[in-house]
Amino acid sequence: MTPRIDEMRAQIHATPMPSPAARSRWPGRGRVGLLSGGALTFALAVGVAVLLSVNSSAPPAYAATVHVSGGQRTVQITLREEQDIPELNARLEAERTRIRVVPVVRGCNDPVHEVSNGKVIPGPAKTLLASAQYFHGHPVHIVSMTIAVNTITGRTLVIPDSHDGLYSGGGGVVVGPAPDCVGIGPRFTIKG
């Protein structure tokens, strides 16, 4: 096995490490908000009904609970700490959903082909962007949402997540598996 292992190691050694991405600065610190309001926007845009609820009580650190009612399958996602993303995604995978939570990372470069209105957007693959959503000058924080699951083979619904809520929003449906990260888009203000 050595030649294969040596060959891969040589590639690792010869490649500059990618720039450190923005990472959580607050392990152990209370987290205010997470799942994006923007996810609501894009999910509706692609025909996935999102029944949104903001929990004011103390929900678990993370959860993915599937409900089946009248032939409609929904999954409720709760997430409080960015560090729990892998566990939450493992839960979503175990529930056989094509939904994945992806961290928002400054300088992210992980192009994917996005789907809009059921069709793949033509052109080269692009990095998804997440936009911070503001309401009366305050960032929108969401810790829990319920999504009607309409699983489409080969496509994944990406829900972006940021550690401080400033970049919550955006995401989309992509072809294939979810990217490793989502970039930062422009701020978005909710009127009202």
Binding site: M1, P3, R4, I5, E7, M8, R9, Q11, I12, H13, T15, M17, P18, S19, P20, A21, R23, S24, R25, P27, G28, V68, Q83, P86, N89, A90, E93, R96, P103, V105, N109, D110, G154, G176, P177, D180, C181
Partner: protein, 185 residues
């Protein structure tokens, strides 16, 4: 806390040196296919290299859990899609390390695939007939869950439960042997 941890390339290379072979053997045992395992393994390392700055492990053991977690996710993607993604490899413009037949044979020997197949066959034989049949329909024949349910004469949820429980038994067999291998190194 995590800011004090060395996330530089030497730490990544140290992780690679510690776990590269073990990860390859683990994937080989899970896929029962040296070629597929090699492709998954290479993609895992490329993905890990790209995501190294986001690794929050606080020590070597957690780092190893992190890379094995990546492997589990890639493996799950493979089972679902039926093909190995090469996104991270392509992004880094890395090539898939080629392996000779002799190298693959050596990998199969180290992974003890023959013994594992016997063990899995033994574990499969211990399953109740409906569960064994559900596994065969889903895994061997590649049927969808609705089709498995139709063949078994049960609901789709029940079919999923049968397959899931059966896989857990088989997984325990693989994990037990992998543990033995790890302890033997």
């Amino acid at each position: 806390m995590t800011s004090t941890i060395d996330r530089g390339k030497p730490a990544f290379e140290a992780l690679y040196d510690r776990t590269a072979e073990r990860l390859l053997v683990s994937l080989t045992r899970r896929t029962q296919d040296t070629e597929v395992a090699g492709e998954l393994w290479a993609e895992c390392w490329a993905a890990a290299f790209v995501g190294w700055s986001r690794c929050r492990a606080s020590g070597p053991e957690e780092e190893e859990a992190w890379i094995f977690g990546i492997a589990r996710r890639r493996l799950a993607d493979y089972w679902r899609a039926g093909a190995v993604e090469r996104r991270a490899l392509e992004r880094l413009r890395w090539t898939m390390p080629a392996a000779s037949t002799a190298e693959d044979d050596e990998l199969a020997r180290i992974a003890e695939l023959d013994a594992l197949r016997d063990a899995l066959a033994g574990a499969l034989a211990t399953l109740p007939e409906p569960r064994r049949r559900a596994l065969r329909l889903r895994i061997v024949d590649g049927l969808s869950y609705p089709d498995v349910a139709a063949r078994l004469g049960c609901t789709e949820e029940a079919a999923r439960a049968q397959v899931s429980r059966g896989l857990r038994v088989l997984q325990r067999t693989i994990d037990r042997d992998t543990l033995n291998y790890t302890q033997g190194v």
